[in-house]
């Protein structure tokens, strides 16, 4: 690889050319990249540095104050003792897990079903990917209306006779409050309290907030098409000869998928999970438009926390601290991914 690079940057017609131009050509490629690199270093790395400094500073009001806060890291300490921040971390975690499972598995299923190339598969593929082209704000507004507890989905349940069936069997009608419901499903606080005493008294319930479910559905609606497109692209690189060879070896259609295609798609799953995972750690617009912080911070996430603290409460150091944690979480996912995909070349 080194040799190849060296050959490439040496002018082929160097013999006939003065040496000075040859040297110029060596510095020209980095020189052309300089504006972009300076912009990137200033606007990304220097700015991140400033944000980290702000998160450690006394700048907690409208008046700018870059002096460091004593003791060191006090803002972080305060943030990590806020119940709202606990709820945010829980929500990000639960949202990421549910959203990744939903969008990746459904995306894979759709890609496999479309792979049968039945009638209308091109139109269907376009329909499934269509939401990706929309703004999160549009998605949030549409799904807020659909999950309005007085209408939308709940009305559909009524219309389909589901509630009639449940009440005739003596049960209460199924009418969740969705985005207005502050309760948390499968709370594990008591159970965790056995291992870590004190957890059972935490103000935040560790479980699945009901109000978060509609947000997960909306996010899956928007981004399942992305994972489907990734899988379709991945499957198009698997040659027909390979499938044919498996068929000749006696595999049936089902086995071709489970034994040949699925293992070859594993790298696609990793890339998709990383890209969608980092989207979900950063999620802001969708929740902002759909539910905001939600009842009892049931749908609050770090992205909204940063926005509220920085631009509404003008607690700049607190907002900056939360954004640094967001950056840290995203980096945990992205840096190894970039490292491994760029090293291969």
């Amino acid at each position: 690889m080194q040799a190849k690079v060296a050959i490439k940057s040496r002018p082929l017609t160097g013999v006939e050319r003065p040496a000075r131009r040859g040297r110029l050509k060596g510095v020209l490629p980095p020189l052309i990249l300089t504006p972009a690199m300076i912009a990137s270093i200033v606007f990304v790395y220097v700015f991140i540095g400033i944000t980290i400094w702000v998160s450690l500073s006394k700048w907690g009001t409208l008046r700018i104050d870059f002096n460091l806060r004593e003791p060191f890291g006090l803002t972080y300490q305060q943030m990590f003792s806020m119940p709202r921040w606990h709820a945010d971390l829980r929500n990000t975690f639960i949202f990421t897990i549910l959203f990744l499972f939903g969008s990746i598995y459904v995306g894979l299923l759709l890609a496999l079903l479309l792979d049968r190339k039945l009638i209308g598969h091109t139109i269907l593929r376009n329909v499934f990917l269509f939401p990706y082209a929309l703004s999160f704000i549009v998605t949030g507004i549409a799904w807020r209306w659909i999950f309005n507890p007085e209408t939308g989905i709940n009305l559909l349940f009524d219309g389909l006779g589901i509630n009639h069936l449940i009440t005739s069997m003596g049960g209460p009608p199924f009418k969740p409050g969705w985005t207005t419901d502050p309760s948390v499903l499968f709370s594990i606080n008591d159970w965790l309290g056995i291992i870590f005493p004190g957890v059972e008294n935490m103000s935040v319930h560790l479980g699945i907030p009901i109000a978060l479910i509609p947000v997960v559905v909306a996010a899956c609606w928007q981004l399942t098409g992305f994972s489907m497109a990734m899988y379709i692209a991945g499957m198009s690189t698997i040659s027909n000869e390979l499938r044919e060879a498996a068929r000749i070896d006696g595999a049936n259609e089902f086995q071709i998928y489970t034994k040949v295609i699925m293992p070859l798609l594993r790298p696609i799953t990793v890339s998709t999970a990383i890209i969608l995972g980092h989207v979900s750690l950063k999620i802001f617009d969708l929740i902002f438009a759909m539910t905001g912080t939600g009842p009892g911070f049931a749908t609050d996430v770090p992205g909204i926390f940063v926005f509220d603290q920085t631009f509404k409460a003008t607690r700049y150091n607190l907002g900056a601290a939360a954004s640094v944690v967001m950056l840290f979480l995203v980096s945990l996912v992205i840096v190894p991914y970039l490292w491994s995909s760029l090293r291969k070349r």
Partner: protein
């Protein structure tokens, strides 16, 4: 073969006609199609209703009579912001595409020691949560008197767009054979002449892909728009739409119609140029 016939799935498959499975697959796909089109149906149908006909109990019904519904008011309210979004997205898309093309050309064809590291440093910028640079960014824009202006927001989108546009162009140029370049080089063309005479004429598909991708990204942006442009008259359409849906004086039919209006440009781009859109999507996932 023994394992094959032992599979319960296989015997079931044999028992039923081949057609059955095709119909089953189609039925599942059709179910998903209904799910994916449901929000579109709700937005369009609610938007077409008159305010007095929007009620919670008839949400899924079609409008009683055909009229402009909420679209008239939504259009009236959002049209200045649609203009802002266009004035923002078009120049920002063009500038970041051109800049990205130049960088991508160097990264793909003039590799030098350490260029992979530089590329990694550059590309990391597209993954960061922008919340983590907003405070210094706003301070900076205030210093250079660009805060609260559309040119300011264009600058921001161009700068934070270089990473993705350079990435897509690098992957695009990597597929152009080196032999084309070598031929020009033997004819005495330098790094710049090769770009303008050889690469640029071949770049049209790359520009379409990057253009569509960036236009969609910038059009759909909300965070930069809401934090950098506090003046409602200058805000892009996503921010205006969110304000519309948050105000209590506005009816649901207007909000839904507004969502359709705000989504229309990117939806049209997707419908007519979807092929390129998918290519940009996949090229944006780093793989070289």
């Amino acid at each position: 073969m023994s394992t094959v016939t032992a599979s319960p799935f296989y015997s079931l498959r044999q028992a039923l006609p081949k057609r059955f499975w095709d119909y089953a697959v189609l039925a599942v796909l059709l179910g998903f199609m209904l799910f994916f089109l449901m929000p579109v149906y709700v937005m369009v149908v609610t938007g077409l209703k008159e305010a007095r006909n929007v009620s919670l109990s008839t949400m899924w019904n079609l409008p009683q009579q055909l009229s402009g519904g909420g679209f008239v008011e939504a259009w009236h309210r959002l049209v200045p912001n649609l203009g802002n979004s266009l004035m923002l997205a078009i120049p920002a898309t063009i500038l970041s595409a051109v800049w990205g093309s130049i960088n991508g050309y160097i990264f793909a064809k003039w590799r030098f020691r350490g260029c992979n590291l530089l590329f990694g440093i550059l590309v990391f910028g597209m993954f960061i949560p922008y919340q983590s640079i907003l405070i210094p960014l706003i301070q900076f824009l205030q210093q250079v008197k660009l805060y609260g202006t559309i040119p300011g927001l264009i600058t921001v989108h161009v700068i934070y767009g270089i990473a993705i546009t350079s990435l897509i162009f690098r992957n695009y140029y990597a597929n152009i054979p080196d032999e084309l370049m070598e031929a020009a080089r033997i004819d005495g063309a330098g790094i710049i002449r090769i770009y303008t005479d050889v690469m640029l004429p071949l770049s049209m598909p790359g520009f379409v892909v990057v253009g569509i991708f960036q236009f969609t990204n910038i059009w759909n942006d909300f965070l930069f728009g809401v934090t950098i442009l506090p003046n409602p008259a200058a805000q892009p359409v996503t921010v205006a739409l969110n304000n519309l849906s948050g105000s209590f004086s506005v009816d649901w039919n207007v909000v839904m119609a507004g969502a359709v209006v705000a989504a229309l440009p990117t939806a049209l781009v997707y419908i007519f140029l979807g092929r390129f859109f998918v290519r940009g999507l996949l090229a944006g996932s780093v793989k070289g």
